[in-house]
Subunit: 379 residues, 4 copies
Amino acid sequence: MTAERIRYGMVGGGRGAFIGAVHRIAARLDDRYQLVAGALSSKPELAKASAADLHIAEDRAYGSFEEMIAAEKQRPDGIQAIVIVTPNHMHFPVAKAALEAGLNVICDKPVTRTLEEALELEQLVKSSGSFFGLTHNYSGYPLVRFARELVEQGKLGKIRVVQVEYPQEWLTEAADADNKQASWRTDPARSGLAGCLGDIGTHAYQLARFITQLPLDAVSADLASFVEGRPVDDNVHVLLRFEGGAKGMLWSSQVAPGCENGLRIRVFGEKASIEWAQETPNELWFGELNQPRQRFTRRADWLGAAASGVRTPGGHPEGYLEGFANIYKDIADILVARQQGETHQLTKLVPGIETGVEGMKFIQAVLNSSKADSAWTKL
Amino acid sequence: MTAERIRYGMVGGGRGAFIGAVHRIAARLDDRYQLVAGALSSKPELAKASAADLHIAEDRAYGSFEEMIAAEKQRPDGIQAIVIVTPNHMHFPVAKAALEAGLNVICDKPVTRTLEEALELEQLVKSSGSFFGLTHNYSGYPLVRFARELVEQGKLGKIRVVQVEYPQEWLTEAADADNKQASWRTDPARSGLAGCLGDIGTHAYQLARFITQLPLDAVSADLASFVEGRPVDDNVHVLLRFEGGAKGMLWSSQVAPGCENGLRIRVFGEKASIEWAQETPNELWFGELNQPRQRFTRRADWLGAAASGVRTPGGHPEGYLEGFANIYKDIADILVARQQGETHQLTKLVPGIETGVEGMKFIQAVLNSSKADSAWTKL
Amino acid sequence: MTAERIRYGMVGGGRGAFIGAVHRIAARLDDRYQLVAGALSSKPELAKASAADLHIAEDRAYGSFEEMIAAEKQRPDGIQAIVIVTPNHMHFPVAKAALEAGLNVICDKPVTRTLEEALELEQLVKSSGSFFGLTHNYSGYPLVRFARELVEQGKLGKIRVVQVEYPQEWLTEAADADNKQASWRTDPARSGLAGCLGDIGTHAYQLARFITQLPLDAVSADLASFVEGRPVDDNVHVLLRFEGGAKGMLWSSQVAPGCENGLRIRVFGEKASIEWAQETPNELWFGELNQPRQRFTRRADWLGAAASGVRTPGGHPEGYLEGFANIYKDIADILVARQQGETHQLTKLVPGIETGVEGMKFIQAVLNSSKADSAWTKL
Amino acid sequence: MTAERIRYGMVGGGRGAFIGAVHRIAARLDDRYQLVAGALSSKPELAKASAADLHIAEDRAYGSFEEMIAAEKQRPDGIQAIVIVTPNHMHFPVAKAALEAGLNVICDKPVTRTLEEALELEQLVKSSGSFFGLTHNYSGYPLVRFARELVEQGKLGKIRVVQVEYPQEWLTEAADADNKQASWRTDPARSGLAGCLGDIGTHAYQLARFITQLPLDAVSADLASFVEGRPVDDNVHVLLRFEGGAKGMLWSSQVAPGCENGLRIRVFGEKASIEWAQETPNELWFGELNQPRQRFTRRADWLGAAASGVRTPGGHPEGYLEGFANIYKDIADILVARQQGETHQLTKLVPGIETGVEGMKFIQAVLNSSKADSAWTKL
């Protein structure tokens, strides 16, 4: 028998937004969710108009997230989960209210605007009976999970060097005032003190952490704001030291002409290396010492547990939306298992509040190190 | 205001099927369809069990397509379209019945098992008031459409040479008897006289036809069945002559180790060339004479009309499912326009019955030429 | 002890020529040859001026090849070999005279202008005691030889399909009258009846023949001359049937914008495939059925006999000149062995008169088939 | 009229050496040099045997460099230049003696073992009338020079970010005692205090310096020795700050399985970026903001002055040896011009003693910073 679809309400993601639509596709792709309610904008009028676009019933198109939570609690068919796709500064209050109302939460990253908020949220999640998932979507790509499997299986030997980067070009010039995506991302009040660092640097860090499973010990960072008048960083250079002795580099940039979403990671161990790039996500390079490199594709033949995230045969490319959808699909499996009092094995693969807290600690340490002229700073 | 979702019923695509699930994802991705009914297997028991998997209401889980059509006609909320994802030999009877019942049809390719059936179906489509769409999904990729735009705009100059290919490895060895996908594809009774030719050779042909818009004049073909005992071809070599003087080559193979879904096209004109490969669908190479090659990505900045098929920014890869979904999304737009008595501009980009007939003519000509020791054979 | 350098005289290759300079670099690279004499142009004045450019002593700068052969025979330190780098129509008379004078010959391809000449030359080579080498340079690339080794070792299993191509853009437009390279190549009197076919189609054929070692049985060809007024073909489409059942396609073109020297071969067997492209000559792809593809580089670790043609470690790219030089280096080894009455093991890897004759038979069969509306034509 | 070939003597590079043979090929490729003398090993017996291998006359096969310099000065046809290809610690004494004898010097990199030696050598070069060239060969690649041209022409706008790296795998494990190349490179007495840093890190630095022409202001470095017992670094992580505000990262490693000679640079300016990798040296990527990326090949059509280093048309790959040979060819032109009292325009493109001094300053600053827990250290 097929499990019921999970009923969810969305906060943020109305007309003019970007990431909300991505979440909705991700939720819809495998038919495990139903969008039944929404507080899609901080402007009530816009929120309701946006809801109509999305086939949300009129009486469940709310003007605020508080209203939505209160009303849905009264319904027998009320929402089971809230999806948060607002600018960063709203993640915390919405998540807090949802958790206090006993709802599960799926939240876009970074988890909050500050480390303090993240730590408080961590307590809330632990004391609640709810599930909290953070959509660090890049760890939803099957070959990223396969890379993690290779590391776990010892195929690389002890890890020595981690090189990760995420360059983009889209903020190379000062953005127009009417660029909604650019404006809140470069506004500390809404995005936090980190610019490029919080927006994509955290993705790079999470990817390295996810694949290697190595805790990061300390950073030496050099942030820059190349565009005049920009109040946050737009280029991030960080040296990394991991527990156990591995070292690395992290680079993220939003002033890199010629780059679209160049997230790329290389991990080198005593025996072999892996290499993966987000723009060609259907191949993973495995380089064993003194052997020809091997190009693994997204095939069930070798993927192991990561095969659960594959919908089409190797050679039929899957991409960003499918990787994102894997996070949603896994959360659906996890929620179904929780209803039956079980812990689903995929739980460890889905980023949660700990990942969120680690991300904020990373941001904080990088900001501190950069202010201290790149002094090594513990996380 | 948002248009209502289109209600559809599926024929084929039950448990153990492959392409049915792809169609359902494609229909779901942009939230323009609702799967409300199904005759998902030729075995009634299996059909009904499969329907339950898909959240289809019990009273709309039918044991046969005839039953479904008859029952749905009686409902005020009956289906508006039928999606056909059966083995090839069932395409014709289902499509015929659907059209006769006034339903719109979305059909997997090849359109029928024989040219005769295709021609009869063409008459049926013309005399009906219904829409018939054929899911030659590769022409749904945004950069394939952009390639067509470049040709239309004269950026290549007059076309001289077309090289298209589609190698796969999956039938390199005789398939196990229990490989459902392999068994019907190599069975002339269910698949038609063409093996690899019908399964993927037609995709290659359609891609060339779609991008260049050149009518094919004649073929000189050499088919092979390399695997002992295989009753249909597994390797297809064809020389092409187009109307107007362009020449080309088409190769498709299912005995090509190392290849997954290597569909790739190159078109050379008097001024420039384009190159696109399905496994890296987010880049299109444009090679102007005596200039550095340019690598176009999937960006709205330059895509023109093809931009409608883009959901994420360049650098966030979209793939097979998104390309497939574009066909569905366009058909939804077309159906909405038809309800209002209009012809949507996307109509010309969505493969229909003419494409289906052309494909069957291509298959027939290739089979005939190969039997005649590769004599040039008109379409 | 080191063998003496081989003393050679060059015919053709004076000022304004292209391939002569390449031969001289190839001969010089490994310091196995000395250029001591030359008849570098059909114009005596130009011949002598060109010789001075090349540090050839004044008394060995000849006005014609006949003069050179006659004079050098009288010298105790006379030339041991003649290198022929003239336009095609002069290959035969020069080679004939050289062989009759007991000189070894190194000749650019194609071996002659006609099959008749090639067959006569074959007799001359056999009846002479001299060595005849044909610089089909692409078979000098170490990874091409490694590909041949893989085939010989049975790593691919029985070969089924061979796809080879060589597109260029440089004759996309009618050439200027003062383009020396273009003018003789499109002049049947100097180049032969084949245009693109003889210039680069033969390279593609030789590469396929060299790697697979399969004799070609028959061809079905469709030649085109897309540029108005061009007296020879500029685009070559050929279906191939090899002895033993393998089939293939060969495409060469000189009207392919965006292509520089796109020689590329793929060979598919029952177990695996190889793929190699001249523009990225330091990698060879090996694709075993149901395994990740492997990217072999130019490393002695696995190259076997092909390792002799490697001067730098993997990752330090070698290219066209080094591949060409390998032919020269091997011929030097062969000539030294012959002086000692031995047959060097590399002899089978260096193209000789048989390769030349096969190439002319291929050209003849393709021309005949194309005239006969692509009828299958035996070699 | 053609200039006489330059007569040179080599120090180091006897049997069992690696880079000496590369220098000899580079010198020979364009026929501008003659190897006439040698002190090819510190062991006189081996030196003389090695000379015989190389066609050096017996009376010019010397047992030591001092002997060679003294004897050659007495000859009317004595050497004009000395090529130094010894381990690092011998560069200084040989270069010093050569300069004092009025000879021109071509020296492998790094210039000396210590900064002090480099500074002393700089004074010697200035006070001598001799030419000193340093074979930082990677700046001999035509597309590297083209990259520099693009920067000079302002095509990138003001430079903001420089990412350069050079990973190799060959010292991933402790080397065998009998690996001659590995043993001296990991011995501080012969190689200097820097391991990977001096061997390849300096190549990466020089490449960045050559292309951008930006002086480096300060470094923050973290060196590692991952292989137990290794007395020098084998992994180099450096943050870079250039004069004028650009920032960057430099990574070099000799413990990176899967990497051969992965030298790669990316430079990002306000308007565009360039990307070049040594293993695919015949392509240069140019990425303008909001434009499709362009792939420049090695064609005279656009290369400007860099075209002088091109011997074959685009599409016929040239590699490591050709790039190396360009340094030699340019030095030949420079020496000829100097004989006529002129300064050749290529002088600025050939690395000299200033480049050598800068390299040693870079090494020193990186060593100091790493010892000071990555404190920013001025050069």
